[in-house]
């Protein structure tokens, strides 16, 4: 009992400390500091979250790709440090019509694409049409509520919707809001990724597959004085330890994600500083409850595994895991323990949700009550050092309450296939997180959710979530999300364990590098100070 209290106290202290850090970090970011930047120089950024895929926003789906796009492709909207949506290429926040089916967005004047052509409503319309109709467009599903986009004069566009859709602005604050040069679209068509041209402080120069992407300062940008480097090179590092070494050696000046095991040595290095941001995503376990025949093969029916058939067993499963020890042992103290799909770093975080705490004794009795003898769970884990470490930790915790966990290490791509096919019991997987809570919840637990690997289907949750989509006031939306999440936490199609905190390492010679809760390293307006 004592150990639990101490652990809880430690956890609270750690959480409080991190929150304080975040507050001070964001305060620092928003405070205006007179920094003298040197013009020129090359910044080399180490990316450790995988290699960017095609540099065409129509097709792009990688995290690292978004980091590169931050320098070469501005969007209609962007985030600020507190995850509020602010206009970037748009002139103001969108105006929604009274029937909620038309959204008008005013555009800024005097902006040029990185090939010199003008940015206007025609360009936005052409881009959106491409996103909606291009064969294989990934943005189409993000903009699925949009029927068409029309120009209203030279500097405004109207989005026509099938049904009310509040998350639209959030979508336009990511890749779906990136506007492409019409001239380049016509010139390259499907091969846009070979030489992408948008609006940005930097422009694409070249790329060596598997190694690096180089961008150079753009002479066309509307706020040229804010871009200081002559060149930025994004280098891909598959091994986080090698990336940390490179940062310490000075081969790279920024590292977008330091592995928890490398943080002590980077902290100790006087020439480096660490920027932290609590992300919008979560880490957790998806439990296959009703996915018997495959994703979206409705109706979902209970798959009959130990966890699927017994809500009490699922509760025991959650109670057996000490999130604070998980944080300490597996993640080296670099995550925020949590139990909801929305991260504390988001403005949508719901403080009033009560979590199921660590309680191994009650877990043991719940296991008895479940009536299942020798409960066994096959936990599918995508290969990766940290994931495997976490899986083994969970295995140990569950063994202590009488649940046997078999760790099934599966390569990432195959694990996604299996999750979709429903050929798994439990899946240790997270989600990188979206600005709008809809992006963290709907796809996973709505009956028609395209990421609902759990096969969870509950009418009342569907209703809450669709109301949340169409409601227009924040207050109303919060109310619906609260109800939905409360229900999900009861049924446990997913058990949420933590919210990752991204730590980026930066050389002290560089200033102006920021990281918002989307955990993307923002280097576009940074520069050398020495």
């Amino acid at each position: 009992m004592n150990r639990n209290r101490i652990a809880a106290a430690v956890g609270a202290a750690v959480g409080a400390g991190l929150l304080a850090l975040l507050i001070s970090a964001t305060a620092g970011a928003s405070g205006k500091q007179a920094v003298k930047f040197k013009a020129g120089g090359t910044l080399t950024v180490a990316m450790t979250n995988g290699e960017p895929d095609a540099l065409d926003p129509t097709l792009a789906r990688t995290f690292s790709g978004r980091e590169v796009f931050l320098t070469i492709c501005e969007k209609l909207y962007d985030l600020d440090a507190h995850t509020n949506i602010v206009p970037q290429l748009a002139a103001a926040l969108p105006k929604v019509s009274s029937n909620k089916l038309s959204v008008t967005i005013p555009l800024r004047h005097g902006i040029k694409f990185n090939d010199g052509t003008p940015f206007n409503s025609a360009a936005v319309v052409k881009t959106m049409t491409r996103y909606l109709t291009f064969k294989g467009s990934v943005r189409a599903s993000e903009l699925s509520a949009v029927t068409k986009v029309t120009a209203k004069g030279k500097y405004a566009v109207v989005f026509h919707l099938k049904a009310a859709y509040s998350p639209l602005t959030a979508q336009l604050a990511d890749r779906s809001g990136m506007i492409l040069s019409p001239k380049q679209m016509s010139k390259l068509g499907a091969n846009f990724a070979r030489d992408p041209i948008c609006v940005g402080p930097y422009m694409y120069k070249n790329r060596v597959a598997g190694d690096s992407i180089t961008v150079v300062k753009s002479p066309f940008y509307y706020a040229k004085s804010k871009a200081h480097f002559a060149k930025i090179v994004f280098k891909i590092y598959n091994d986080t330890t090698a990336a940390a070494q490179a940062l310490k050696a000075g081969t790279v000046q920024a590292l977008d994600a330091i592995a928890s095991t490398d943080i002590p040595s980077i902290k100790a290095d006087k020439a480096l500083s660490i920027t932290k941001a609590a992300g919008l995503g979560y880490g957790g376990i998806t439990i296959n409850i009703g996915n018997k025949n495959g994703l979206l093969k409705l109706p979902y029916q209970n798959v009959g595994t130990d966890l699927a058939s017994s809500p009490k067993l699922r509760q025991a499963f959650e109670m057996a895991i000490n999130r604070n020890t998980l944080n300490k042992v597996v993640f080296g103290g670099t995550v925020l323990p949590g139990c909801t799909p929305v991260s504390p770093s988001s403005v949508w975080f719901d403080k009033s949700i009560k979590c199921t705490g660590y309680n191994p004794n009650q877990a043991k009795s719940l296991v008895q009550q479940s009536g299942i003898s020798n409960p066994t769970v096959n936990l599918m884990v995508p290969t990766g050092t940290v994931a495997l470490r976490e899986a083994q930790f969970i295995q140990a915790e569950e063994a202590a309450v009488g649940i046997k966990v078999n760790v099934q290490s599966t390569d990432f791509v195959t694990s996604l296939s299996k999750a979709d096919a429903g050929t798994y019991d439990a899946f240790l997987i997270g989600w990188s997180g979206r600005v709008d809570p809809d992006g963290n919840i709907f796809g996973f637990v709505a009956t028609t959710g395209t990421l609902n690997d759990s096969g969870y289907s509950k009418n009342i949750v569907d209703r809450f979530l669709s109301h949340a989509r169409s409601a227009s006031t924040t207050k109303a939306r919060r109310h619906y999300y609260h109800a939905a999440v409360q229900q999900i936490l009861n049924d446990r199609p997913l058990i949420y364990l933590d919210h990752p905190i991204a730590s980026a390492g930066i050389s002290k010679k560089v200033a102006g590098v920021t990281m918002y809760p989307d955990t993307l390293l923002r280097v576009a307006f940074a520069g050398y100070t020495q």
């Binding site: 540099l55 467009s137 060596v208 597959a209 791509v413 296939s417």
Partner: protein, 298 residues
């Protein structure tokens, strides 16, 4: 043989579960995208049609376009020289270390230096090179800061380029040095004991010139033979070392391609490997028959 290899690769790659659409999908698995990927790879057409399509293009030098929309041919062309440089450097290291040691231990057979060198060689054979790489990184890069821990700099900056490749080349070269040494030793022992040599000695030629002449002739044969036998091991070694040291060469490209399920890239890569293998084996045979007309394998 190339044909068989290409068929095996083609079939093997298609057998990998988790189709490329899912790999491209990462988080959002969108049915429209999956359909587009299927169309691009002709995944709905029967296998022989897919295979024929690929071979037809490959023969024309077009290995297709990978998931990043970059030309596979160009990617391979840019990363292959890096691995070749690494391979060449490690071969140089192993020749410098292995050949003379092999000669000396053959000449001083039975003496303590022979046992010592043979012992070291055995250890060299037994050490897993990736472990040695990790240890080397710890000692030389982390603790002593003498050399970089990995990465690669193009040959435009020759000094930095060599600094980055020094550790990987040495680590890779040591294993082969050991093999070379043993081969060299045994072939020197064989030839030093032949009648031909006894006659030469009887004729009054100095021990040194006898040794040198045979050493030279034998070393060429030895290196060629070992290269031929160990090519597979060399390639495996390059792959591991590139992964550990983060060198963006051909080896790490292969691993990445497989992990990404980048069909086009995998096929292109393995085809190149198979071609390379054929070429090297051919060269080995040619050199062999040139050196020793009595051994004609062609």
């Amino acid at each position: 043989m190339l044909v068989v290899a290409s068929i095996v690769v083609f079939g093997g790659v298609r057998a990998i579960p988790g189709n490329p659409a899912i790999a491209l999908g990462a988080e959002n698995r969108d049915p429209a995208v999956i359909a587009a990927v299927k169309a691009k790879y002709l995944l709905d057409k029967p296998l022989p049609v897919q295979y024929g399509h690929w071979i037809w293009l490959a023969v024309q030098g077009d290995l297709g376009v990978d998931q990043r929309q970059l030309s596979v041919g160009r990617t391979i062309a840019s990363r292959l020289p890096i691995s070749l440089e690494l391979a060449a450097l490690s071969m140089i290291v192993s020749v410098i270390v292995g050949i003379p040691t092999g000669v000396i231990t053959a000449v001083r057979r039975g003496k303590p230096s022979d046992y010592a060198a043979t012992g070291v060689a055995l250890i060299g054979l037994s050490v897993p090179h990736f472990w040695l790489g990790l240890m080397a990184i710890i000692w030389f890069a982390v603790d002593l800061h003498w050399l970089p821990a990995g990465g690669y700099v193009t040959a435009h900056h020759p000094i930095a380029n060599l600094k980055h490749l020094l550790l990987p080349a040495v680590v890779l070269g040591i294993g082969f040095a050991a093999v070379l040494m043993r081969q060299m030793r045994s072939s020197m022992l064989d030839s030093l004991g032949t009648d031909y040599v006894r006659t030469a000695r009887a004729k009054g030629l100095s021990e040194w010139s006898v040794v040198c002449k045979h050493a030279f002739r034998n070393s060429l044969i030895t290196v060629t033979t070992v290269l031929g036998l160990q090519l597979g091991a060399l390639i495996s070694g390059i792959v591991t070392i590139e992964v550990i040291f983060g060198i963006p060469g051909f080896g790490s490209l292969t691993i990445d391609a497989i992990n990404q399920r980048d069909y086009t890239l995998i096929q292109g890569v393995v085809l190149v490997v198979a071609c390379g293998y054929v070429i090297v084996n051919l060269l080995v045979d040619v050199v062999y028959s040139l050196l020793n007309p009595r051994i004609r394998t062609i």
